[in-house]
């Protein structure tokens, strides 16, 4: 049994403009110590999926159905203290913008101590010692001084390290990282990803890494879920999805990546069109209006997420042989493989 399993998750929000179908039947799983990379454009439902796991999308205008199983217990059914005991303690989360995600008016030490004391009855002093240890573990220089620093006094990379320290200080089983490097400098991005990987190896934490950057996924993930318009388009092990991509949307993502070998004059290949509105998702396969290989069946029927090789599933109407033929052709054109 996987540690965390999301089964047929649906999340929609009633708004003045209509119903936003943010997540529309998503199933995912992550095992202990593994990294699941969730990739997709903004509005693909990847963040909403993660927030729903944490119970953070329970707004008055939200409708949520499906299952989020942590060790077999459905988190969607938890409320009050039961939910509180999971948040931060068993499943921790870090966010895109560490500056806005940390409280501006409290010191870093205070915020980490609070996280510890929310779950464990320890003295202020003991909690502070652990906060300090946590800051050291994520490689923050002058950690004792930093305990009494305010978030605005740190650099972006240091702030995200603080967020990671705060998330991991209780040794959670799962760390959900929602675009953890998007707001950071490129040089800092790699450091943060390395840090997450290092700590994961040390603590055996499962990581759900949400990003729009396939390059980040390629470096970090064990399994990959490609999301589009609130659905999973392709799901499988890293090598299967990157080297043997079978969904036209995944091809598009791969082709839009610049590669080290491609010359600078060579243009990038963006995916034509823009992500669909989640209020009026296209009928059938939501990707069909942008898909260069769309067939007559695509606007009519929603493709199921069906296995193609063991562990690798694709939601596409194209026949498997055609997908593989196009896939290898696309791969040979591009230098990313």
């Amino acid at each position: 049994m996987p540690l965390l399993e999301v089964r047929d998750l649906h999340v929609s929000f009633e708004t003045r403009d209509g119903t936003v179908r943010a997540v529309d039947g998503v199933s995912l799983a992550v095992d202990r110590g593994r990294t699941l990379g969730v990739v997709g454009e903004s509005g693909s439902g990847k963040s909403v999926t993660a927030l729903t796991v944490m119970g953070l999308t329970r707004l008055p205008n939200a409708t949520i159905s499906g299952e989020v199983l942590l060790d077999g217990v459905d988190l969607l059914g938890l409320t009050g203290d039961d939910l509180r005991r999971v948040r931060g303690k068993r499943v921790a989360m870090i966010f895109q913008d560490p500056l806005s995600s940390l409280h501006p008016l409290y010191t870093i030490g205070w915020q980490i101590v609070e996280a510890i004391q929310a779950h464990e009855r320890v003295s202020e002093k003991a909690a502070r010692a652990r906060a300090l240890e946590g800051l050291r573990e994520v490689g923050i220089p002058n950690a004792p001084d930093r305990l009494s620093s305010y978030p605005h006094e740190l650099s972006g990379g240091m702030r995200q390290r603080v967020m990671i320290a705060m998330a991991l200080v209780l040794d959670p089983e799962i760390l959900i990282a929602d675009e953890p490097t998007t707001a950071l400098d490129v040089t800092v991005q790699a450091q943060i990803l390395d840090l997450v990987r290092e700590l994961q190896a040390e603590h055996g934490t499962a990581v759900v890494l949400i990003t729009h950057d396939l390059g980040v996924i390629a470096e970090t993930a064990d399994e990959v879920a490609v999301m589009y318009a609130g659905r999973v388009a392709e799901l499988g092990p890293l090598t299967g999805v990157i080297d043997g991509a079978e969904h036209p949307y995944t091809w598009g993502l791969l082709q839009s990546l610049p590669s080290a070998e491609s010359s600078r004059s060579e243009p990038l290949h963006p995916i034509e069109g823009s992500p669909p509105s989640l209020i009026s998702v296209p009928s059938g396969c939501p990707f069909h209006p942008r898909c260069p290989y769309a067939m007559e069946v695509c606007p009519r029927e929603v493709p199921g997420l069906l296995p193609t090789t063991p562990g690798h599933a694709v939601a596409c109407h194209l026949p498997v042989s055609t997908r593989r033929a196009i896939g290898s052709e696309v791969r040979s054109q591009e230098a990313w493989a």
């Binding site: 927030l51 944490m54 953070l56 203290d81 509180r84 005991r85 999971v86 948040r87 931060g88 303690k89 921790a92 989360m93 966010f95 913008d97 806005s100 995600s101 940390l102 409280h103 501006p104 008016l105 409290y106 609070e114 996280a115 929310a118 779950h119 305010y150 605005h152 967020m163 705060m166």
Partner: protein, 330 residues
Amino acid sequence: MGAIGSVLSSSMLLYIVRRILWGAFLLVVVSALTFLIFTVFPSADPAALRAGRQATPELIAQIRHNLGLDKPLYVQYWLFAKGIVLHFDLGYSYQNSVSVRSQIFTRLPVTLSLTAGAFVIWMIVAIPIGVISAIRRRSLLDRATMGAALVAISAPVYFLGLVALFLFSNDIGVIHLLPGAGSYTPLSESPWRWFTSLLMPWCVLAAAFAAFYARMVRGNLIDTMGEDYIRTARAKGLSERRVVGRHGLRAALTPVVTMAGLDIGILLGGAILTETVFNIPGIGRYAYDSIINSDLPAIEGTVLFGAFFIIAANIFVDILYAFLDPRVRY
């Protein structure tokens, strides 16, 4: 380095000194403007008022000379300014020759009582209502309190005050419940009578402020609860009570506290309407009387005091802000 040490840096002290100098300059401007407005648009001739009904022109001229009103304007202002700067002397009332300074200082505790009590009431009312309305947004309670707040903000003090007197005062009231207008008793004389005599003025003065602050607390808290750090607080596994109380309110109340500082400053200069309606012998009532009597020294004195409190409150609030928000540095 301690929190106070880091906040009270040398640049901060420099900033405070600069603000105080600027404030002194503002007081000069305010006094000059008041002087100018009074002399250019006089409401009445102070000498004629002082002389009474059957005054002879000679008597009026004599009074004018005694009050120094026959001197050129700039000389009058110069003497006035010199008195303040050298002796902290605000002059003597044209009306009854009583020292304006002593008048203001005897009336200050009265205005202070009125302001402090009203402040306590409006905060005690506004914060819970604002918080509950923000958390139960769009609920019946939210709509009802915010509707009532709008009414309270729109109702003028002289209207609310008269309604309160007609309903509850023990002379003209429907229910003889509380002492009516003109019943103010100093705290030192009788704490109980002080309290009962001020209860109605407190509530009337606090009504609009309570309404305004409730709306402000609500708005700020709604904004704050949408911040990313609230999401982080929830993700940490904190109880909703703590998320709202320690994370939401801490940020939402910071601007409220500074606003309150400014409002207290304004009120200390005299709650003119409330003090007039309830005939409370505070600075506001004094200002009102001095305007009616064309009593320039008293007008100057009350205006300067009002301006002083506003300027002082502004400086105080700026310093306070550096303590409340670590991002603010001067």
